[in-house]
Symmetry: C2
Subunit: 324 residues, 2 copies
């Protein structure tokens, strides 16, 4: 609190800001709660404006504006902003205009984007310039409403961009890794919704030790592949025997979609976050991400599900579009 009071106003002060923030994919198989990547597929916009009343106001718009909770304690942007203001003892009224373009309940970091955009915006609006790990921790708190507990694997890439490793949660330490330029993504978003809270509730509380070792080996391959620009190695690490088999049961066509993606040249396939979206990594020197996306859509179609599919690239994180 002392720090904020000291810093507050040191930077240039503004009364309104607009931040755009990308969709993200979390886990990539074995990296449950610790791996995330920003995907240049969908962007939310978060506008914050100081208002005279010391209250929090929320306006929703965008394609999915009607699909998300209006109640402040159930909205990740509101929750994050309230937590931020309370933590630093700042008494301000804030109006949040949230333009929701990232599909909701699909495992594409929609709630994380809201929280990340709100935190990045508020930090800049107040001229605080908090360290990135603190921004990530504040935004992660906003995720409590959708995930049941703070988690950072969507908000961190939404803020930092690229691939992010959450090295530790206590304190939060997020390390960014630039994905190699030959890495592309294919995404298939079937026409069902999965609640993050429910997808977490069905997870096993305990895991056999042997599976842990296997997941450590695979997760390490993903990091190594990212650093070496070896998409095939990244893909070979995208296998998870702990969380994914349980969640796969919630996704009709999971096996078919995975097989079709690999047949179409993907290096690896995983459930995006808590699903139902599935994400494949593609080496663009070997196959076309658009072909892989098409094959995945056909897989969902075989399982009787409508599906939106697209090719995308990793992208940068939240960016301020304007301040005034």
């Amino acid at each position: 609190m002392a720090t904020a009071a000291r810093d507050l106003g040191e930077g240039e002060h503004h009364s309104a800001i607009r931040v755009e923030v990308p969709s993200t994919t979390a886990n990539l198989g074995p990296g449950f709660d610790v791996f995330g990547m920003a995907i240049g597929a969908f962007w939310d916009a978060v506008e914050l404006e100081e208002c005279p009343k010391r209250s929090l106001e929320l306006e929703l718009s965008g394609k999915y504006g009607k699909s998300i909770p209006r109640k402040h304690d159930a909205n990740s942007a509101c929750l994050a902003v309230k937590h931020f203001l309370k933590k630093f003892g700042i008494e301000r009224g804030i109006r949040i205009r949230l333009e929701k373009n990232i599909p909701v309940g699909k495992g594409l970091g929609s709630s994380g984007a809201s929280a990340a955009g709100a935190i990045v915006g508020l930090d800049r609006l107040l001229g605080l310039g908090l360290p990135k790990d603190e921004l990530v921790a504040l935004a992660a708190f906003g995720e409590s409403c959708s995930a049941g507990a703070p988690h950072a694997d969507n908000v961190a890439p939404a803020i930092l961009g690229g691939f992010v490793l959450i090295q530790s949660y206590d304190p939060v330490r997020a390390i960014g890794i630039d994905p190699p330029p030959n890495l592309e993504l294919a995404i298939a978003i079937p026409d069902i919704e999965i609640s993050t809270k429910e997808a977490r509730a069905i997870l096993p509380a305990q895991v056999p030790l042997g599976e842990v070792a296997r997941n450590i080996g695979r997760a390490s391959s993903i990091i190594l592949g990212l650093l070496r620009g070896d998409v095939s190695l990244i893909g070979s690490g995208m296998v998870d025997a702990i969380v994914e088999p349980v969640r796969a049961k919630l996704i009709p066509g999971y096996d078919v979609v995975k097989r079709r993606a690999l047949e179409a040249g993907a290096c690896g396939v995983a459930i995006s976050g808590s699903g139902p979206t599935m994400v494949a990594v593609v080496d663009n020197r070997v196959a076309k991400a658009s072909d892989v996306a098409k094959a995945m859509a056909e897989g969902f179609s075989d399982a009787g599900l409508d599906c939106e599919s697209l090719a995308a690239r990793p992208c940068g994180g939240a960016k301020v579009v304007w301040m005034r």
Copy 2:
């Protein structure tokens, strides 16, 4: 079998070979069963010689020659050689001369070195030139006698040198990573012995899911630190809340040694393999590995244990010294 029969004799044929093979450290905290590193501290020598009788003979020498099992099924070199010959349907008599200089029962990959040296030697002796992953898998089988199951985290670095990630066990896939030149090691070997089999028997069968995520984050940091030459990041990842707390109870002074190493400038400390040796990583631009080793020895001394301590560097893997 067909492959071996075809290849056998294609290379130049020899009747005797001497291979030197280094000590190794496994796990480095969270990398249970999947991380290992060759340490230039101790070297075994394995000599293989074809003999007319179709039998396996074993001669032991070296500082620790009397500390290891003579029974073939309890000796990792014999077990590996028998498995190798049987697998490829090769009927030869082999005399193994094993010069055991790597301390036994200390968690420094002593049994792994025997198996690794024997496999590398036999492959060369027979002119097979098997792929490295196959050599690792064959040597890992030799570890069954000491570990109760094949494991590759010592034999892989003993063969390949440097740091090795076991990406998968089925099939075995080992990926080498060159440690950065500023990475040094401090090792403290207390005067107690821990059997690998026993150290494995006390491990939990099940692990809480939250701990798995934390270990994935830390293990990933080790890989990232190795690739970026960031020893501090490697060290910060050397924390394990699954295997190490259980094994720490077998090592008097564990907490003190760890604290003393960090106070002396180590970036991270872990039990080496199944212990009781403890290994610290040191950034040689920040601290002296010899100072850290001394501090660790004092820690064991405070706990009433005699201790051999030394500074070392990562090193290359098994090398053929001569063939004739």
